[in-house]
């Protein structure tokens, strides 16, 4: 049976956005896994975690609740699924706060009324990774693999916001294993001893405090080199962007020669499922993920029994 979700893609995934290739690969992956993602009509920004100084408390919740109300109206009964770590965190925080406080829910609805909307507090907010692990399962993730990612070593960089404060059920905050398991499931080699797995890349402060953030990023990339990684893999669009695009800046300032590709879990799955480089969003990288591109272009798909 086709699984259906109310999709909350988020700002960075939009056409020519900084994570547009994430969305491309998610679409390809979901097609193979028979997952139907319907974008919430006219969805808006969650405010991310950085907007607090301007937003205050209620306005932030109202922004997220608007998306929930639209999902309830247009896609009733479907879980809201985010691919972005910050979207997921912001939306889930709002969902939990409004579930816990009838006063906050009433205030939110008083504001939503101005946009002709009402939130019934039915939303269930989930991350794409949760859908894969909990609704699809590792066994079914493995089934459509026609190009196992053999011989490719991945440093699984989980980062912060898909891991804390909510995290994925059954995983520890200090050493979550799901990303390594996912790599293994599609035939790659996870570097399970990679110690920067849950470090912070600086997040939004990569803009406002570039040197402090690049110090974090330098450690994240250098540790991947130390462990012999071919590339880093991550579930978070901001981690992906920060860790990939600032390597040239770090090189400029420190005379290093960092050139470590950073891919999304969804790109690994898409390539393993036989997607072309374009379908897997591999044309959207600043540092080319050569080993993945080679598999996508050259390797002949296995015949499935």
């Amino acid at each position: 049976m086709k699984k259906e979700y109310a999709f909350y893609p988020g700002c960075s995934s939009q056409l020519r956005g900084s994570a547009s290739n994430y969305l491309t690969s998610v679409n390809s992956m979901c097609e193979t896994l028979d997952i139907k993602m319907t974008p919430i009509p006219d969805w808006n920004c969650c405010g991310a975690s950085i907007s607090y100084a301007g937003s205050g408390e209620l306005a932030r919740h109202v922004m997220n609740a608007r998306n929930f109300a639209l999902a309830e109206t247009h896609l009733p009964g479907q879980d809201v699924v985010a691919t972005c770590a910050a979207c997921w965190l912001g939306a889930k925080e709002t969902q939990e706060k409004l579930d816990a406080s009838s006063q906050l829910l009433a205030e939110t609805n008083e504001a939503l009324k101005q946009a002709g909307l009402k939130y019934e507090a039915k939303a269930q907010v989930r991350h794409m990774v949760e859908v894969l692990i909990e609704d699809i399962g590792y066994e079914s993730i493995a089934k459509p693999v026609v190009k196992p990612l053999e011989g490719v070593k991945f440093a699984g960089y989980v980062g912060c916001q898909t891991n804390r404060p909510f995290g994925i059920a059954g995983e520890s905050f200090e050493n979550p294993m799901y990303l390594d398991k996912m790599v293994e499931t599609v035939g790659g080699e996870p570097l399970t001893k990679y110690e920067q797995k849950v470090s912070c890349c600086g997040g939004a402060l990569a803009f406002s405090e570039p040197d402090k953030s690049q110090k974090q990023i330098k450690q994240i990339v250098e540790s991947a080199y130390d462990h012999g990684a071919d590339m880093i893999v991550t579930p978070c669009p901001l981690c992906q962007a920060n860790v990939e695009i600032y390597q040239s800046e770090i090189n400029r300032k420190h005379g290093t020669k960092l050139a470590m590709p950073v891919a999304y879990y969804s790109q690994l799955l898409a390539v393993a499922y036989g997607a072309t480089p374009k379908q897997a969003g591999l044309d959207g990288h600043v540092i080319q993920p050569k080993k993945l591109q080679d598999i996508a272009i050259k390797v002949v798909p296995l015949k499935k029994a």
Partner: protein, 199 residues
């Protein structure tokens, strides 16, 4: 704040998001040791909590430290009392901003305000405009210099089709921008009333 008779802890409890948790801190210092930007701030969350209880209103609200939060939530998951430390830091920063006490030139303070204005204007973040607003925050010449320094990053993103030069003219946007503005206006009103900012 005459209403709080010099009791800063009570003021924080009433007016800061998640401020009611501050008194639960047992001063163990795990938050201080867990922060990725620990070497860059003057006051750890642990210190800030103690300063609040000691009534050091001005020192807390003018501190640079809350603005160093990267929202990594390490402190939250490690706190033995399970306090929402990240959220309290954001709440204190927001409160300092509302009172006009936040350090004006603090780069993350400025970025936070720019981000919120950016994303609420059309309902969605305009990434190119966001970057321009950050680079040109200190004037045109400084902006050109910063943009020149960052040309490799920008060109890389452009070639990877992850930056849209037309976003300045044809931005991504929500259809119901009017509705979004109206609901936000109402939300600010309600919160001002609730936190006592309307009097």
């Amino acid at each position: 704040m005459s209403d709080y008779a010099g009791d800063f802890l009570r003021e924080v409890e009433a007016r800061v998001e998640e401020g009611e948790w501050v008194k639960m801190c047992m001063q163990c210092g795990v938050c201080a040791g867990s922060c990725p930007f620990g070497e860059h701030w003057e006051h750890s969350p642990q210190k800030i909590f103690m300063m609040i209880r000691a009534g050091k209103r001005e020192e807390v609200l003018t501190s640079d430290s809350m603005w160093m939060c990267t929202s990594c939530y390490n402190c939250v998951v490690r706190c033995p009392r399970e306090l929402p430390i990240t959220q309290i830091m954001h709440g204190l920063a927001t409160y300092a901003e509302r009172l006009g006490l936040a350090p004006k030139m603090q780069p993350t303070r400025r970025f936070s305000l720019v981000f919120w204005n950016n994303c609420t204007k059309t309902g969605r973040v305009n990434e190119l405009k966001l970057v321009m607003q950050v680079y040109f925050r200190n004037g045109f010449i400084a902006g050109l210099k910063e943009a020149w320094n960052m040309r490799r990053v920008g060109l890389g993103l452009l070639l990877a089709k992850r930056m849209n030069p037309f976003e300045l003219f044809l931005p991504h946007r929500c259809k119901d921008q009017k509705g979004i503005q109206a609901m936000l206006k109402k939300a600010y009103e309600i919160e001002d009333r609730k936190r006592g900012f309307d009097s």
